[in-house]
């Protein structure tokens, strides 16, 4: 078993690192992709 303090520390580091990725701006191509998928569906 790992030391509780180490585990807590790792958890914080992990969340900080991950949240940094989550808060990156989303490229516009994804919105365009969903628009395109929606458009194609309406045509059918």
């Amino acid at each position: 078993m790992l030391d509780q303090a180490i585990q807590k520390h790792l958890g914080r580091k992990l969340q900080a690192t991950y949240n940094d990725l989550v808060s990156q701006p989303v490229p516009d191509k994804f919105r365009q992709l969903l628009d395109e998928l929606e458009r194609q569906e309406k045509k059918q």
Binding site: H9, Q15, V22
Partner: protein
């Protein structure tokens, strides 16, 4: 035609930041991560009829993404093995080169973990899925997830050289980042 309701489209849109973060954590490469997310969205859209509304959309999307990643990953690994007769190192950075603790070093250490361990750690420790949810997403037993998370923690501790209290004492900077990130994080 039964298209996705506007709210489902918005939900897909809202899930993208987390899908990108998960994909980047798996493959460690932004361009490849974006390809994975794009493929996931196309797949999800074509299979929306099979998604039961009211169930966890995010978990469903994560499942699609990780399945795409691992089938590609296995294929690539076979190709590398065929070509070289051995696995190429996942990263050019060796643990000895890991300096003092900061966010970049943590990221490098994270990428040194075996992919299945990294996946389990991200799902449970970063995305906040339960062990049960993570097991469904990864298509394995709950005990397997638990042991992967545990092995990931032990390995990270080792890679980061965490031993003394000084190494993991209160870190107000990262706490502030966590608080900030948590509020910015779409749920």
């Amino acid at each position: 035609v039964n298209g996705p309701s506007p709210s489902l489209r918005d939900e897909l849109m809202a899930a993208i930041p987390n899908l990108r973060a998960f994909a980047m954590s798996l493959c460690g490469n932004t361009a490849r991560a974006d390809d994975l997310v794009q493929e996931t969205l196309v797949r999800a859209w074509s299979k929306l009829q099979s998604f039961e509304e009211g169930t966890n959309l995010k978990a469903w999307l994560f499942t699609i993404l990780r399945n795409l990643f691992f089938s590609e990953h296995r294929k690539r690994r076979r190709e590398v093995e065929d070509a070289d007769g051995h696995l190429s190192a996942q990263l050019a950075v060796h643990p000895e080169q890991l300096g003092h603790m900061d966010m970049l070093d943590f990221r490098v250490a994270l990428l040194q973990l075996p992919t299945d361990q990294r996946e389990a750690l991200i799902l449970v420790g970063a995305e906040g899925f339960s062990y049960e949810e993570a097991a469904v997403i990864s298509g394995c037993a709950v005990g397997t997830i638990k042991s992967r998370v545990n092995r990931a923690r032990v390995r990270l501790t080792d890679l980061l050289g965490l031993q003394s209290v000084d190494d993991y004492g209160p870190d107000h900077t990262s706490e502030a980042i966590v608080a900030q990130g948590a509020s910015a994080r779409p749920k």
